[in-house]
């Protein structure tokens, strides 16, 4: 599946929820279920500080695809992190850098990505792009 197709799949999943409570309950479930990052990567080097909730992000280049793992100490943040990873992990750096991530707006979670939100997600997206950029350069060498 392309990134756009995965985004579309997430949008369809979320369209089933009629009210915000079901949507957040699902996010919380995603957050709790996420088999995330290896403990050794939950250090200051991988920490994206968002003032209130902390996010750890790690990336590996497997073949020519970037594989992301992540975690957060807040479960709603973690749920959104898991969506981002699901959509972006396992793709070529070029594709990741082109992704617009419009799905967060469409499923009504855009506010979580606003820079004023103290959850580290905005910085996480920037960090994802930085990893992709670095791997892109590496692949082009």
């Amino acid at each position: 599946m392309t990134i756009e197709e995965k985004e579309q799949a997430v949008i369809e999943e979320f369209s089933m929820f009629e009210d915000w409570m079901d949507k957040y309950a699902y996010l919380i479930e995603l957050g709790k279920d996420l088999p995330v990052i290896e403990e050794k990567y939950k250090d200051n080097q991988h920490l994206i500080s968002g003032c209130q909730s902390r996010v750890w992000l790690h990336a590996d280049l497997v073949g020519n695809q970037v594989v992301f793992t992540a975690d957060s100490d807040a479960v709603i943040t973690k749920g959104i992190v898991s969506l981002l990873i699901r959509v972006l992990s396992g793709h070529h750096p070029d594709e990741i850098l082109k992704a617009r991530l419009g799905f967060l707006e469409q499923i009504g979670l855009k506010e979580h990505l606003s820079p004023t939100r103290a959850n580290g997600l905005t910085s996480m997206v920037k960090q994802i792009q930085l990893y992709a950029k670095a791997f892109q350069i590496k692949l082009n060498q």
Binding site: I28, C51, Q52, S53, V75, T77, A118, N119
Partner: protein, 405 residues
Amino acid sequence: MPFPVEKIRADFPVLNQQVHDKPLVYLDNAATTQKPVQVINRLSDYYLKENSNVHRGVHLLSQKATEDYEKARTTIAQYINAADSKEIIFTRGTTESVNLLATVLEEWIQPGDAILVSAMEHHSNLVPWQQLCKRRNADLKIVPVNDKGELDLEFLKKKLNPQVKLVAVNHISNVLGTINPVKEIVKMAHDAGVPVLIDGAQALAHTKVDVQEIGADFYAFSGHKVYAPMGIGVLYGRETWMRRLPPYQFGGEMIDRVSFDEVTFNELPYKYEAGTPNVGGALALESALQYVQNLGIEAIRKHEDVLLEKATHQLMKINGMRIIGEAKDKTAVLSFLVDGVHPYDLGTLLDQMGVAVRTGYHCAEPLMQHMGISGTVRASFALYNTEQEVDIFTESVLKAVNMLR
């Protein structure tokens, strides 16, 4: 007579709205309070009918604006019982008041001296003193807080000596709700010959402030936390101090005579009000304090104490609930944590339910480290909050906790 909260709410149009399709329950009052129409009208009347620069015009509008501005100063002086209206310096808010003082006290602090602050200070009454100590090679000493959120007065007493040049503490903690025994603190400090600054940012809306009774040398507060607009605040400074301290900023208004080589500075309070002041803000602050005065601060306090007690009692029924701040003397602020629940998650779900709270460090990061926690959820009450809102709040917390655990 019961507190007329429904009638009061009609004065605050902003409260009558929906967020996320739910009625707004505004419990972030320690961050900023809403403004009554009386205050908004005062501000808009100034711009609609009076706007003019003060203290220099020969024309009628300027004279009227000057008179009103000075009348506001007098009203505020009387409200906090300052000995003279020239002891009221208008600033942008508490932060600027503290920074002003930390700037003009520069020479007062010598290498080897010490400044005492409490562990429960807001960053705005901590960082200016920390930085001043760094500049002057002085020591910043921290008065600890016990598990209940009360200041260790014994420690304070022991640390007071001639090397200490200032004690800076808040009147009411923005995180814990603790009402500090400021009168006692001032007495202890003065017995040792040490001046005291009280950060009253959280106090004006909830308790009587009488600077002479407290005995404080300096008292700082913001308008926006007591139903006035943002961008106006006060530094009360005792005349004997402010007369001998140097100016803060230079420019118009604060001067007496100027030549290219020399200047003589204006008298108090103008010496500390360089540039065009926030006249509209000062008038609106006067109006806000009159609003509070009309309702009566004791009646307001009683009403808010009922809300605090009810909310505390209801929250305590939730499994794993931990109230942060259980001082004997406490008001209007309810910080808490729930086992296994991140404050950010709880705050996010409460927002979805229409309940506005604050989560995180509340600009008191060292206090959090001191108490071994990394943030709280904070509900803070104001005179327009209702018992019904407390019910919505505590039911919402329970609902959110059940979703998150």
